[in-house]
Amino acid sequence: MLRKRSYFDSKRLPYLLILPQILVTVTFFYWPAVQGLAQSFMLSDPFGLHSRFVLFDNYIRLFKDPLYLRSIVITLTFSASTAALAITTGLFLATLANRILRFKNIIRTFLIWPYAVAPAISGILWLFLLHPSFGVVAIAVKKYLGVDWNPVLRGSDAMVMVILASAWKQVSYNFVFFMAGMQAIPKSLIEAAAMDGAGPFRRFWTITLPLLSPTLFFVTVMNIIFSFFETFGIIHTVTQGGPGGATNILVYKVYQDGFIGLNLGSSSAQSILLMALIITITLLQFKYVEKKVQYTG
């Protein structure tokens, strides 16, 4: 645990300084986490008047529930597609922008702003573009590609719609990281490869991409976290988990079961599982970052 070599001596001041942080963290992280854990072992009636200790029943029930298993599959499909689409697009645009010498700042300005759009609003914009009866893209797709597009009724179409709305928002985030990552690659390496006769595509595969791998790893983790959790707003405004539960991702199910279905035990168990998942991801990332430090140092 790092600290400055020279530090201040004070009996009470450091406690006073860290106190606000500890207070909010304990109040809004630890206490709720403990409560959630306790609740996940309980079976309560919808009004919260009686509850009974049932140990792992809520968890066992979850893994026997076809709706929950389906939600896991849906979430994996959704986040893998969103991350893949957003990362490849971001990487592609960054590679292009990095090839040209001028207008870099203007291009960045044009590509950066979707980051500032709330997921919920991104959902609204894409709903407007892809609405089966008046969305301009939907009509074009129907007319020229002959696809019978209807996200209001067909689950797979609805999934495509929420994937597009989510990936669109993430592209700018990825673009910024890849741009920064590429600019950090020494020009001399690229030039040396060019002298040895490697063309632009070969250089991308053998130099840029491998050197970009730490950024790629970080961006992938952030994209997965984004599509697992922060896309709640998109689902809520665009599909509400429908049609027929086809876009009911795990975070949305926690909300639906807990706040609409009032099944507190099950909702808490689902929260705990998600928490465990994100803690695992964080630990994995820390492990990787440590490795990276050893590698460069």
């Binding site: 645990m1 600290r3 400055k4 020279s6 201040f8 001596d9 001041l13 450091p14 300084l17 860290i18 606000p20 942080q21 500890i22 909010v24 963290t25 109040t27 809004f28 630890y30 206490w31 709720p32 986490a33 409560q35 959630g36 645009l93 292009l96 040209i100 291009i107 300005t109 044009f110 590509l111 950066i112 702003w113 980051y115 500032a116 759009v117 709330a118 997921p119 919920a120 609003i121 609204i124 894409w126 407007f128 008046f134 301009v136 009509i139 074009a140 910024v176 690229i190 950024t215 970080f218 976290i225 926690v254 909300y255 807990g258 706040f259 808490s268 929260s271 998600l274 928490m275 964080t282």
Partner: protein, 306 residues
């Protein structure tokens, strides 16, 4: 770049322009829709030439959705989260890096275990906590059977219930989201790179810790603070799930939530021009913040990786 590849360069420009067009299309389309009257916007397909109803639609959205109040709420929430997070984490990081005390490691671990744990995974218990901030105290009270003790002591039936609800309040919108380890982590990383000599010199000159913090550390942290202001303002403004849960009164809700009421449902007249005008109004503030502070924002965003 390195060699001359005129065909590839032209292709690069063309593809880049196409990419920008695709990324920008949703917003261009929204802007066009917001300028059209209702007859035009419900034509299939909608015309791509802007109309002249922009101000009319903006006004309609403003009045129908009570956007004035909600934009104000969003502003309070976003600024509250931004200021709260930055102040709390500056002080916390200062304490962790520049002091040596017994529970330093405990404090560090307590805070950093919460890194990357979003509100979304702990909604139900956090909601219960916000519904009654004194819930934990009440638990302790009940557990100790203090009611019975008090009744026995005073010879009256006394029921003490500790109640402090944060629902439908600015505090409730802001406080639970101030708890974040990310900013503290960033400031800690930055403080560790500040030269040791500065602290030594300050001590030699007899500066107290707080004077050192105010006169040396704060000015040095300016760029980092600017970057975090952008990131946290956007984060706060765009919150969805938490305000959805914690506010039931439309006067207390935020603009991003309120916008949903402007989207026409299948039974309503297709007022998409008004919905889109509203969407423009609600997304404008964070976009402006990002565009005008782009340099610091990019720096801050990329710094998160480290």
């Amino acid at each position: 770049m390195v060699e001359k590849t005129p065909i590839l360069d032209t292709l690069t420009y063309l593809l880049l322009m196409l990419g920008i067009l695709v990324v920008c299309f949703p917003i261009i389309y929204t802007i066009i829709a917001a300028t059209l009257p209702m007859e035009e916007v419900s034509k299939v397909p909608m015309p791509l030439i802007p109309g002249d109803q922009f101000w009319v639609n903006i006004q309609a959205a403003w009045n129908q959705g009570d956007l004035g109040t909600q934009l104000f709420n969003s502003f309070i929430m976003a600024s509250g989260i931004t200021i709260g997070k930055i102040v709390v984490s500056l002080l916390g990081a200062f304490s962790i890096v520049y002091f040596d005390y017994r529970f330093r490691t405990v404090a560090f671990v307590t805070v950093f275990c919460t890194l990357m744990l979003p509100v979304e995974v702990r909604i139900l218990p956090t909601y219960e906590m916000a519904a009654n901030l004194f819930g934990p105290l009440q638990h302790v009270w009940d557990w100790l059977h203090l009611n019975a003790l008090l009744s026995w002591f005073t010879n009256h039936d006394i029921e003490v219930s500790l109640d402090w609800s944060l629902l439908d309040s600015y505090t409730g919108l802001i406080l639970p989201l101030v708890a974040s380890a990310t900013c503290t982590f960033l400031f800690r990383q930055f403080f560790l790179t500040v030269p040791e000599e500065l602290c030594e010199a300050a001590k030699m000159d007899g500066a107290s810790p707080m004077v050192f913090f105010r006169k040396i550390l704060l000015p040095l942290s300016k760029t980092n603070i600017a970057a975090l202001v952008v990131i946290e303002f956007v984060y706060g403004w765009n919150q969805y799930l938490w305000p959805l849960l914690i506010t039931t009164n439309p006067k207390m809700t935020t603009a991003v939530i309120g916008l949903k009421n402007l989207i026409p449902s299948p039974e309503d007249p297709p007022d998409w021009h008004i919905a889109m005008a509203g969407a423009l109004l609600v997304m404008l503030p964070p976009i402006l913040v990002v565009l005008f502070m782009q340099r610091w924002f990019v720096k801050g965003l990329v710094e998160r990786e480290k």
